[in-house]
Every structure is written in C-alpha cells, then in structure tokens.
Symmetry: C2
Subunit: 339 residues, 2 copies
DNA sequence: TTGTAGGCGTTATCAG
DNA sequence: CTGATAACGCCTACAA
C-alpha cells in the first residue's frame, strides 16, 4: 500500500521531463534512449497509470453502468452475463446498480449520470414514469433501455415481445386441451405487467376462449407473492386447469402452492412461466417457460451502447428480440432426462 | 446531453468566486445571501458535481470492486446480494469483475488496483497461487479475500468452513444408512476443491467408513462437468448409494445423470450439494445442501472492507462463517410443501 | 526530439 | 466571510 508513483516520480528517476514520460507511456515517437530510461524507471517503481486523472483529462471513464431491478432475479443475471464480456472486450468496466424497481432509485441513477463517473448506462426499469422520460430526455450520457419506452424517447431501446410470448404460451395450453387458463400477473403499472396482462386477453380471444376476469390475479414478480396470488386464485376458481405466470419466480411460487394443495402438475393444472431462467430447468417439475431472450437482449443492449459510445450522435435505435416457447414437464408431463 | 455546468459556470452566473461555490456546495459556513445566489444558479443550471474531479482531488473514488469467479454461479450472486446494500449504504458504488476463475484475470484485477479507480476490492478466487500472494502483499488498495489465504497474508479474509460442512453432510448420509458414499469434486488445485476433498476423507473415517479412492471423481464446478463426472463414477462403482457433491451445480448435473440412468433419488442414490443456492430449493427433487453461508460471507466481507476503508491500517482479520446442513428431498425423499 | 506550461473540475489553504 | 491560487495526475499544444 505504498504511495503510488506518478509520472513525476518517473521523470525524476529517469532524468527527463514529465512530457517525455507521458509520450513514452502512450507510445508517441520518442528517442530510443529516452524510451529505455523511462521504461526502466517505470518498471522499477511499479508504475501504473492513474485512471482517475486520465479520466478527468480525457472526459472518458471507460466505465458503463448497468442498473437492474432485482439482483435476485436470474433474468437480469442472464443479461449481465452477456453484457459483461461485450463491454469488457471493448475496455469498459461495469458499475452495478440494484434499484429494487424503486422509481426513486432509478431516477437517482439517471441523475447521477451527471456526476460523469460512467460513459453510459444500460437500464432495465420495471415502470417507465413521466419522471423517467423527463430524465431520459436530458440524460448527461448515452442510455440504453431494456424494456419499452415511447416512440421519440431519445434513447436506444431493446424490447422483448411479451405479447407474442404470451400468445405462444396460451396457444400451447389451448392445443393441450386446457380451457380454464388462469393468469398470475405482476403489478399492472409495470411495463411487463401491463403488456402481459393485455396479451393474455388478446391471446385468449384469438383462441376463441372467453375472457373471465376472475381468472386473473395480480401479485408481484417474486416467488412468495406469486404463491400467495395463486392461492387466492385457486380459492376463487377451483376448476382452473392451467396457469400462465408472468415470470418464472411466480411460476415457482405456483408450483409450491399447487403441490401443497394436492394438485398435480400438469395433470390437474398445467403451469407456464416466463423468462426461461435457470430455475425453470432446475425446478420440479421442470417448467415450461417463454424465453423472452434475456441473454440476447443483454447482448444487444451492450452492442447498442458501444456503438453509441464509439460513433456518437445518431438516431435512437429500437431492437426487438423475438420470444421462444421452451416446453418442459409442467405442461406435458414429460421430464427430459440427461443434460 | 448538453455540456455539463461546472463550479466555474455557477460562479460566473452567481457573481461569486469558485471558492465560494465550493463552500456552499459542501455546506461550509457562508453568508446567507451567497448561499442563496449559488444555490439558485446551481438549480437553474442543473449542476451535478463531477465525481472524477472530486476523486482526483480527494483520492477517494467511492467505488469498490467485487471480483467473482463465475457470474453463472448463484453462490456468488448470494454474496453480491449482501455486499451491494452494505456498500451502497456507505456511499460506495460497485464495480463488477468476472474472472471465470482464470488466474491471469484475477492477477489483472489485483494489478489494476494501481489505477486507483476503486478504493478497495472484494475478491473470491478459486485458486490462490504464489502470484496471488505476491500481488496481495503489494496491493495498492485494501483487499478482502473470500476464501482461505495463508496466515500472514496482509488482507482481511472471510472463510467458509467446508471441512465441517462436508462432515455435516457425511454424518447425515451415514445416519441415513448410506455406506458407499461417492464424492464428486472440483479441481483439487482449487482452494475449495482441496478442502472438500480432504474433508471427505476425514469425515468418512470419523464415521468409521473405509476410504476408497474409486469413490472419488474429479470434475469441475459446473453442471455439465458434474454430470459427466457422475456418469464416470457410476460406471466404475455401480453400487454406490450416495453422492457428496462439491457444489450445487455439480449436484444438479448428478440429478440429470441419475435420472437418465434410471436411478431413483434418494431411494437408490442420495445426493447432497453444497452452497445451498436458490437452485437447490427449486430442483427436482429438491436438493439437500450444505450452506456455507454465501450471504453471510458476502456481508462480512463488505463490512470488513468498509471498516478498513474507514479506519485505515490495522491488523488483518479473519472471519469464519459456520456451515449449516439444509435437509431436503434428495436425501430424505420428503418434499416440503408450501413456500 | 524534448521541455515548459496550461487546463480538466474540485477541494483546500491563505491572505484579504 | 470571501477570493485568489495551488495542488490532485495526466495529456498536449506550443516553443525551444
């Protein structure tokens, strides 16, 4: 933990000016002799360049922030897993923010861009409020939003297509002969909550199934809350034969509660989750789940941000990642073996 | 994305000196009138203080790095989940590094402390090599290691007690009447690999069970590798009746392979994992697992680092977190219902 | 090719 | 109480 050497220290040691040291360190044309002396001094002193000073001068931090709603949700992790290598390869560090989907915290993160400790931000908000849009419009660094923002918002935008995703799931359940399909959703004031709720109604109608509002239960995007919501739903509609869950955590809660209630999955009640997280493959029974392409969305977001960082101003872009239904035992009863 | 205002901008606008602006912004005693003018100007301009310049001056970045081996392993996530709020509450941001347990990458991270972009580091290396120790001895910022380092290494150290943990598991299996207990371990040149391998032998002897090296199979700490290792082990020792797996991912791989091989869990083969991750509770059958206190270790690490950052030099500390056996269906056959 | 000097935005010292 | 002014460590004209 010794005092770190600076270019001044090196300059003294090598008997040259700090300008020469800087030049050598940055590979600018310099006399061989000088290069040798500087390198030798730097080596002996164990010099490492100071990133902070460099940032102040260059106005670039080589850091990018990623703001996730919930560190406990594997869907965000899947994004992070893809974001990480893309940014790292381009020489960026990742600063992690966990907002717990609290709007004030998200606004804080947006506001803190003004502190200029990062060159850009990838954010995945659950709600997009007026304040969000206002902050986004005046953000002091490029932002990529994973989730949907209104047209005209001056940020790059990576979207999932949960509408089609829900339709894939409902069609699948319908094809399996299910007719009383319940929906366990997260808060309707969240972007995914609203989209998935609307998509459910739409998909039912497309199948020719009647929409019964008793079949819809609002909870939250966590396992315990999901379980509670399912319990309430079962209570009200004992004869339902399938559950569309707005994410995998809710679906796990559903499995908990159904098991406790003695309902067999999928014989009595088929269950579908969303996000196709690692948990879906590990659960019992394994969970049919709609992949919304978390990994792909993370990768796309990182690439959009990099492009923006490297090429500066341009029109905002929108990338939409298509969903995919991953069928497992919770709807078909067939556990896959092997790896 | 307008040019950001600086204290100079504010000073001009308010008609005072930059020194006064700085004072007001830092809450130092100032005349009311001046305060008012400065605040008004700052408000109008949407001023946000520049973190980089502030860091250069104060030699504090208010950032802490967390270097995890594997973003895909929920055990590290559990740590992160605890580290995050502790550091955030103290005003620190988290910079995330994923090293994939590659020694060179970990050394890089240690080396990069010299760049002074963080005030400290929490690292959880799988291996601790000579180079690690060498870098730790000369690290340019406080480091907390999650994992075991030799006595005398000048860093704070949070340890799991996998020796006791393995013993808990073996005792449990022995008490259930299992006598041919296999071990699926990660690489023996890793700290946990070595510790758990030795603990297995020790625990067997403590139970009065003979040690048979055929019962030990080396793989790696991932699901697919774990599965392959189990397959090899089953091939060689068809009559084993229990598996001690060195982490939960390996155990999941074991479940995959056992299912494919038509062995019932736990009737034919009981399975125990380690780390007690979310996956253990979600898997089928749910997984008995030894909790090594990932969450507690993360919390302890964050607190040690904070203490060090706030109080400066002091003797290195060692915190050891006790293990806990979490019994589930993969050894007893009884699925818990409910949440 | 090399050195001197100014500035990136803040904080802090020291006279007024 | 306030205003110059000097750092913090680095980069980069500009001049020698």
């Amino acid at each position: 933990m010794a005092e770190g050497p600076t270019i001044t220290t090196i300059a003294e040691r090598a008997g040259v000016s700090i300008a020469s040291v800087s030049r050598v360190l940055n590979g600018l044309p310099t006399r061989q002799e000088t290069v040798r002396k500087v390198m030798a001094a730097a080596e002996e002193l164990g010099y490492v360049r100071n990133a902070v000073a460099r940032s102040l001068k260059s106005r670039r931090t080589h850091q990018v922030a990623f703001a996730m709603a919930d560190v406990g949700n594997p869907a965000y992790l899947a994004m992070l897993r893809q974001i990480q290598p893309v940014l790292k390869a381009a020489g960026y560090r990742i600063v992690l923010h966990s907002t717990d989907a609290v709007v004030a915290d998200e606004i804080d993160v947006l506001h803190s861009l003004g502190e200029r400790y990062v060159d850009g931000l990838i954010m995945s908000p659950l709600r997009v409020t007026g304040r969000h849009l206002q902050m986004l419009a005046t953000a002091r660094a490029p932002v990529v939003i994973i989730g949907s923002v209104p047209e005209g918002t001056p940020v790059d935008n990576v979207r999932a297509d949960s509408r089609t995703g829900v339709k894939l799931a409902i069609d699948h359940l319908h094809a399996l002969g299910r007719r009383r399909i319940g929906m366990v959703n997260g808060p309707p004031d969240t972007v995914p909550g609203a989209a998935r709720g609307a998509a459910y109604i739409e998909a039912l109608e497309a199948c020719g199934l009647p929409y019964d509002e008793n079949l819809v239960q609002i909870g939250d995007f966590y396992r315990a809350e999901g379980g509670r919501a399912v319990a309430a739903l079962l209570d009200r509609v004992p004869d339902l034969d399938a559950l569309m869950c707005a994410n995998d955590l809710i679906a796990l809660g559903a499995l908990d509660v159904l098991r406790a209630a003695g309902r067999r999955v999928p014989q009595d009640v088929a269950v579908v989750g969303m996000d196709d997280t690692d948990l879906a493959a590990a659960s019992w029974p394994s969970l049919t789940s709609v992949s919304l392409g978390s990994a792909e969305r993370g990768k796309a977001a990182a690439e959009l941000l990099l492009d923006r960082l490297q090429h500066g101003e341009r029109e905002p872009r929108v990338v939409t990642v298509p969903p995919r239904l991953v069928v497992r035992a919770s709807t078909t009863g067939e556990e896959e073996g092997g790896t």
